[in-house]
Structures are given as C-alpha cells and as structure tokens.
Point group: C2
Chain length 298, copies 2
C-alpha cells in the first residue's frame, strides 16, 4: 500500500510536492487549538497497517513539538505500522556541548524526545558541528541529504560570472566544494585582528574580482549577523553587491530585511522553511533518500 503523508500545519505545499515524488497518498489530519491553548488532533484517514510519514519543518520549534508528538502517537494508536518523519529543517542541533558550566545540552534531549515517538527520520543539512553524525544522538534510523549540489546548480543557471565567498577559513572546505560544482572561483576572507574589537578583513587580489558577482553561502541564516558583516566587507572592498544563499532561511525578527538593507543584491534559500526567498526545491532530494533507504515501505 502507498505510504500515507500527514502534513503538520504550514507544511501542506511542501507535502504535496513530496507526495508526487514518492507516489504517496496525502491523509487528512486536523490539528487545532482549544480555547485554553491545548492542541486537538484528529486523523480522518484509515491508518490500519499503513506506513505514515509526518512532514513538519521545525523552525521556531517549541510550540510545534506537542502537535508533532500527538500526531505520531495518534497515528500509532490508530494502527499505523510505522511512523516516519520528514523534517526539512531539524531544530536543536546547535547546543551540541556544555559551553558554560550548568548548561543543558539540548541537542541530546531533543533527540531523545523524538527517538521515543518516531521510527525514522530524514532531514536536509542539519547543523553538524561537534556532532559529526546525526546517529550520535538520534538512535532511530536516519538519513541526511545535502543541498550543496542543488545550490551549485542554481548558481550555475542564475548567476553569470559568480565568485563564491567564504566568510572565514573554517568555511573553505564547504565553499570550495560548491564553487567547484558550480564551475566558479572562490575566495576566503582573511581576518586580521588589530585589537579586541578591531578586526580588518583582507581580500586577496581584490582587483581581479571586480567584474564578478560575489555569492555567499551558509547553512542557516538566522539573525544573519555573520552574513551582514561579510556583505559589509565586500561593499567596503568595492566589489559588486553579493547574492546571499542559505540552505535554511530562519530569518529571526527583521533578519531578512536587514540582510537586504546591508547591500545584498538578493537573498535565496531552499524550501526547507517556507519563505518568499525559497528558490531551491529540496523535496526531490528527500524523496530519493526515502526511496533508497526503503523508509515507509511495507
């Protein structure tokens, strides 16, 4: 039988594209709040002996977790054989150790919550830094897909004479990879610290790049602080207005407007978090990975 997709609120459009790729059915789920703020859930599709795929991106995660768990538990109660989770943006990956005494390592707690209710998980570029793999904290079967090839393709098709920019030395590996796939040169900014708060940025061979369109790429654009700083350095060096690409456009507060105001020519994101800047569709990557792993197959 076809797997059954249940879209959590605001994930309807993404689920429809995913269902087409997966040849899955879309089930009817009602999720709403009672006047007292509690969540009500009802699944109006027969679930007996079916594989269920929940779809929910987790930007601003805190009030999404109960609806998600309730949907998973209800599906199981109603006879679903397994409950998977397509989560284009996975939250709580950043607090990956105790940076300061007394802190909670929320990445592990959040994973433990999901491990209890979900059978498998597929996501796009989780913020893996000190954790080197999702499996270190997610005990369920999981798969990570990478947006880099899609970003390279988008640059190739949409930017003439691009110049990939790495904001610092740590970004070199990632930026060089995207640049190579896009058939474009890349540049890594060198920070020269002149004092506690006085950081100068040197752009090597700057004159060679004036006819190029700089392209900044990062995994998450949240406050956009780092990107806004980098745009500032490029403007100071009198390079062209850059294009800013994020895999996940969280855009906390006015981050999107601030980034455009800082001098970015354009801001482009993948559709892992619904936003007007979504230009790169990751649903095909996710469905390929689900099919390859045989997730949701009876």
């Amino acid at each position: 039988m076809k797997p059954l997709i249940l879209a959590l609120p605001e994930n309807g459009s993404f689920s429809k594209i995913l269902a087409t790729h997966l040849d899955a059915e879309i089930g009817i789920i009602e999720l709403r709040k009672f006047p007292d703020g509690e969540t009500y859930v009802r699944i109006d599709t027969e679930l007996e002996n079916r594989s269920v795929v929940l779809v929910a991106t987790l930007a601003e995660p805190d009030d999404k977790i109960l609806p998600l768990i309730f949907a998973a538990a209800t599906a199981r109660d109603l006879g679903a054989t397994n409950v998977g989770f397509v989560v284009p943006y996975l939250a709580y990956m950043r607090q990956d150790r105790r940076f300061k005494a007394g802190e909670g390592v929320t990445s592990t707690y959040f994973a433990a919550i999901l491990n209890r209710w979900i059978d498998w998980l597929v996501t796009v570029d989780p913020h893996l830094h000190r954790w080197t793999s999702l499996q270190e904290i997610y005990t369920m079967p999981s798969e990570v897909v990478h947006a880099a090839p899609l970003i390279s393709s988008w640059i190739k098709e949409n930017v003439s004479r691009p110049l990939l920019i790495g904001p610092d030395i740590e970004s070199e590996q990632w930026v060089s990879h995207v640049a190579q796939e896009a058939g474009a040169p890349y540049l890594v900014l060198e920070k020269i610290r002149k004092g506690d708060r006085d950081v100068e940025v040197s752009i090597p061979d700057v004159d060679a790049w004036r006819d190029r369109t700089p392209v900044l790429v990062d995994d998450i654009i949240s406050t956009a602080r780092t990107m806004i700083e980098t745009v500032g350095h490029l403007m100071q060096a009198e390079l062209r207005s850059p294009i800013c690409i994020g895999v996940h456009g969280i855009f906390a507060g006015d981050a999107y407007d601030n980034l455009l105001a800082s001098g970015a020519e354009r801001v482009v994101t993948c559709n892992t978090v619904p936003h007007s800047s979504n230009m790169i569709d990751v649903s095909g990557l996710l469905s390929d990975s689900i099919k390859q792993r045989g997730f949701g197959q009876d």
Copy 2:
C-alpha cells in the same frame, strides 16, 4: 540536604511561598529563547546528589513543555538524584477518550511524555472525569490535593449568607460538599429541555433565597461559557449578583471580562494559575502533600 526548587518562568512568586513551606532552597535557573526561537537552559546552582523540585503551572502548555523537559534533563545531567514536579495546574486532562473516530487521546500521550522525564508529581484538582485517578495514565508516583476545603474556608470568611449553586445535577456531589464545609445551603439548577435549543432552568423555591449571595464553584474557568450561562439564569430569577469561584482560572481570551460583564459580582480563583483574581493560596496544600509522601527527601 534541603531539596532544591527550580522555578520555570512566571512561577517565581509561587515557588518562593512553596520554598518557605518546604524549607527548601531556591536554585538559579536561566531559561531564555535564542533569536531563532530555540530554548536555552542553564542551572547555576550545584546539583550533585540533590533532590530537585521543578515548579511550573501548565496553562497554555504547548510552548512550555520543551523548557520543562530541558530543565529536568539538565538537572539530571548535572547530578540531581531525582527530579520532581510541582504542577499547580496540570494540562491535557480533558481529552480522556476518543469522542470521535480518529481523535488522539492526548491525555495519555502527554502523561507518557512527562513519565519519561519526571520522577514524581504533585498537582491540584486535575480534571478527572473518565480517568478516575491520575495513576491510570501517570506511572510515576503522584499525589493530588483538593482545593475544596480552602474554597469552603474562603467562602465562610468572605461571603455573608452564601448560597452555593450547582449548575447541573452532575455538580451536586461537589457543590454539596463545599456547602457543608462552608456551613451554607446549596441549590442545584434543574434544566428543563423544551426543544433542541430551548432549555429553561428552574430554580426551586427561588423566593427563599433572595437575601443570599449565590456562589458558583467550578474546577476550571476556561471560556467561562457554562458559568456565564448560569449567572444569566440567576439574574433572570432576580437573585443577587453571584460570586464565581474557580480552582483554576485559565480565562481563555476575554473570559474574565465576559464573566464580570455577565453579572458576576466578583471572580475568585486559587493561585494555581497566576492571575489578578487569585485569592486562595494552595501552596500549603502542596507542600503538606510533598512532606507526607516524603517526595524530594534523600
């Protein structure tokens, strides 16, 4: 060693009174949101080998559950021997069966979440209807305390010539009990159904009660719809403006103002959910119960 109380946001005042009753220490917990909406937690008090008591009421519960779980998990990570939970208002007790095919029985799922992270629990008058005891869904040791004696005392001290009112026949047992303790008469309204939407309410011997102050009591005032209706019936019968007492004042939207506007002379609640109507302090009940059960004792 003294048990250590950790107050979740908005539970600081209540925790202070509770700490005095329990002779407990109050620990320092920092809970805040990152710009992207994720929760940060840090406990700045030594927890090694200590008993921790989390204090959090759960009105509007959905975005409170991750901070609560993170606080519990962090306390355990930092060496707490056990993590208890004082929850003056316990959420998700109302969906206690599948009223309609496909519904999730959220009371059981919510209990399962807490069972995973919390070692014991004490609460005030949870909405037990089809569940007859908290133990049916909460597997951890738990204790329920009842506000009825405090409500009776409050009525005795603050209302001259009270008349307890039960809105319907199901409320008789509870209302008669509060009335007896308060040394007051009580009255149960009789609904006479004249058609699908035409319900008349008869008040037996109405003339005998005109010099009394009606007192309505309910466990939860959420939308206040039932109470507003009952106030309406009393006003129609030309009884005095009633006093409305709720154990838990949730007051969804404009419920509090609407209840006053409907003709209630005054609205009074217990301090299980912080609100300007709080007049009845339940912290002593909770601390007595904690001490009696030996919760949080090493």
